[in-house]
């Protein structure tokens, strides 16, 4: 089968699945079976987590730049897009509705504000990235953390987006929409999750991705080989933050309420835990981590009485346990997929040696060296 037919077929199947799941979540349900709202919400939040985790993985897992500020970019995207929706989209939507009908008009407006959110977040990523990517390791981590906190505190001080009371809709002088419209549904969230995965996968498996991985493996050697490390690091950072902005835009139009408390330090940590759990440098690992970390606290809610209070303790103990026993994460740098299953069947004793035909190099030696003891640097 030619590749483009495969691709079109894949696209059709994905769209069909998204529409079906979305209908299943709706009020009427699918064939008389509806998904309770609680589960539908968890599924939607999982989609948003996947976007966040996979995009952070591009900068932290593949490029090796430890960023603790992803929630800051998410906040920028969320507030920018919701700001546009509330104050500037009303007349545009009415005009488009008269032209194209309500559904299409809403979709176009939503797509527009998502793009705004992504662009503003990308700009924030550029502004933060250019100076901070000169720094390495711990210092970069702490600077991204600092920027995220500053972003949060600045948003907290903008009255036009609700400030400390949160952003639910228009604020005095009452000139926008009363409430944030619930544009985001599973078609949007699931669709963007898949787009994120596809885009990151293609970046990682392109020459840009090779450059990024070489930076992670050894920045000096990579620079010596002629890779413009700063440029590639900034590219990765900007792409990563624009996807965080998209996740924020979806989050804002799904929750219909924004508060800076949703974008605190702990939120960034949560995203890091997702990729650490799944394995840094593995896209499927990041997806897996996002699913587990979003669903786990909900599952732990079911714990009887006393134990319920300890769900966050279990959550953090888990993180420590993973670091102690398997610091490279569940997946390491491996990808989980059909070819992985086939390979496991063929060679149960382990992976193919590096460089063997038919196995892309990206799937082999892309481990961020987490599992190998490394000497501590000393003065």
């Amino acid at each position: 089968m030619p590749t483009f037919i495969k691709r079109i077929l894949g696209l059709v199947i994905v769209v069909f699945l998204l529409v079906a799941v979305n209908a299943w979540m709706g009020r009427e349900g699918l064939f008389g079976f509806g998904l309770p709202y609680y589960y539908a919400e968890i599924l939607n939040l999982t989609g948003i987590s996947i976007i966040l985790a996979v995009s952070l993985n591009l900068i932290t897992g593949f490029t090796g730049q430890f960023s603790i500020g992803h929630a800051g970019f998410m906040a920028v995207g969320a507030y920018a897009s919701v700001f546009m929706t509330v104050y500037y989209s009303d007349s545009a939507e009415q005009w488009l509705t008269s032209l194209l009908g309500a559904t299409l008009a809403q979709s176009l407006v939503f797509l527009g504000v998502i793009i705004v959110g992504a662009l503003v977040a990308a700009l924030a990523g550029l502004v933060v990235g250019i100076p901070s990517l000169r720094l390495r390791g711990d210092y970069l981590a702490i600077v991204t953390l600092g920027f995220a906190e500053i972003i949060r505190i600045v948003i907290l001080n903008i009255d036009r987006v609700g400030g400390a009371t949160g952003f639910r809709g228009r604020v005095p002088p009452w000139d926008g929409r009363l409430i944030i419209p619930a544009y985001a549904n599973f078609i949007w969230i699931g669709g963007f999750a898949i787009i994120t995965i596809v885009v990151v996968y293609n970046i990682v498996n392109s020459d840009v991705g090779r450059a990024l991985i070489s930076i992670r493996e050894d920045e000096l050697a990579s620079e010596a080989m002629g890779v413009n490390t700063t440029r590639y690091k900034v590219i990765a950072f900007v792409i990563s933050s624009s996807f965080a902005g998209i996740a924020g835009a979806l989050f804002g139009h799904f929750r219909q309420f924004l508060h800076t408390n949703d974008f605190q330090f702990i939120r960034s940590i949560e995203i890091i835990i997702m990729i650490v759990l799944g394995g840094m440098g593995s896209i499927t690992g990041a997806v897996l981590g996002a699913i587990v970390i979003t669903i786990l606290p909900e599952l732990l809610r079911k714990l009887p009485g006393d134990l319920y209070g300890y769900r966050l303790v279990i959550y953090s103990a888990l993180l420590i346990l993973i670091m102690l026993t398997r610091p490279q994460g569940v997946m390491g740098a491996k990808e989980f997929g059909i070819s992985w299953l086939k390979r496991a069947q063929r060679r149960p004793e382990g992976d193919k040696p590096i460089g063997e035909k038919g196995v892309p190099i990206a799937q082999q030696s892309t481990s961020p060296n987490l599992d190998q003891p490394k000497e501590i640097e000393h003065r």
């Binding site: 906190e149 890091i272 102690l324």
Partner: protein, 308 residues
């Protein structure tokens, strides 16, 4: 002028607390190149250790300098043990891995301590007993309208005493020489017959004890203590350590005092230049970013060439 002096007193007071915590960050970073994210939580543990010590010994009913002294020393000892345990069971097993692993481990320990405390004693703030009597917040007039309270005087004196003590340990004792040797080069120190593991444990113990002292002293000034009090204070103290030059002990003290003063001045004078007092918490981070961009080695730190 009066307000300026007043702001300076208040700022340096908060700064002294930041300095005490920053010392722990700087010592650990100096030896292990590890940002000990759990250090802010050890500060919280210290405050709670003091709180429960005071309650169980019945000292809350007998406010005096002696009670404060007992609680201070007791909580410092407890926190030192907590710090050593954290190092032994969380950081030592991952010390051989990459720095990202150890950093994530530190974050994990921090989350664990916070969540354990929230689950065990609840997130609601508790009132720390006031050992300095009902007069503790009553200010002594200095000159004009500037004044200093009893609690502030105690905070200044105790923190200065502890800093002098630390300086003496690090520069005048055999253990201190070993600590400096380990921070200079861990492997060479090991070859010279220094028990590096013991020295690292000791460093964690001393740093944690200083943080606990910070916790108890803060509680004399602002008696509301809660399990999440260490997050923001810890981050700011870390910024103080970076500002002064991480790994540098006098630098940490200088950084702490500067951050404390900068914060108070933003609250006091920021509105003149259009900065609302709500930006108070952003100041430390803005300073951090500026420092790292202009002079990454900090104010007193020496420039370190990165080894290949």
């Amino acid at each position: 002028m009066d307000t300026f002096v007043q702001q300076l007193i208040n700022g340096l007071n908060i700064g002294a607390i930041y300095a005490l915590i920053a010392l722990g960050y700087t010592m650990v970073y100096g030896i292990l190149r590890l940002i000990n994210f759990a250090h802010g939580d050890v500060y919280m543990v210290g405050a709670f250790a003091g709180y429960f010590l005071a309650l169980s010994l019945g000292l809350a009913a007998a406010p005096s300098f002696l009670s404060l002294g007992i609680v201070l020393v007791g909580s410092m000892l407890i926190a030192a043990v907590v710090g050593v345990i954290i190092e032994r069971f969380a950081y030592r097993p991952v010390r051989k891995y990459s720095r990202m692993t150890t950093l994530i481990m530190a974050i994990g320990v921090s989350l664990l301590i916070e969540n354990l405390f929230v689950a065990q004693i609840g997130a609601a703030p508790r009132a720390f007993p006031d050992f300095l009597g009902s007069q503790s917040q009553l200010p002594y007039r200095l000159f004009g309208n500037a004044a200093i309270s009893k609690a502030q005087i105690v905070i200044f004196l105790v923190s200065v005493a502890l800093m002098v003590l630390l300086q003496w340990i690090v520069y005048k004792t055999k253990v201190g020489t070993a600590m400096r040797a380990v921070s200079f080069n861990l492997n060479s120190a090991k070859l010279m017959g220094i028990n590096t593991d013991a020295i690292i444990s000791l460093t964690f113990g001393i740093g944690s004890a200083l943080a606990a002292a910070g916790g108890v002293l803060t509680a004399q000034y602002n008696p509301n203590i809660d399990p999440l009090m260490g997050i923001l204070t810890g981050l700011k103290a870390f910024v103080a350590a970076v500002l002064g030059g991480i790994g540098n002990i006098p630098g940490a003290v200088l950084g702490g005092l500067l951050i404390g003063a900068a914060e108070t001045f933003v609250v006091g004078y920021g509105h003149h230049i259009g900065i609302a007092s709500t930006y108070r918490d952003a100041v430390a981070f803005a300073i951090l970013i500026l420092v790292l961009l202009i002079r990454p080695s900090g104010l007193l730190g020496s420039t370190v060439q990165e080894k290949v």
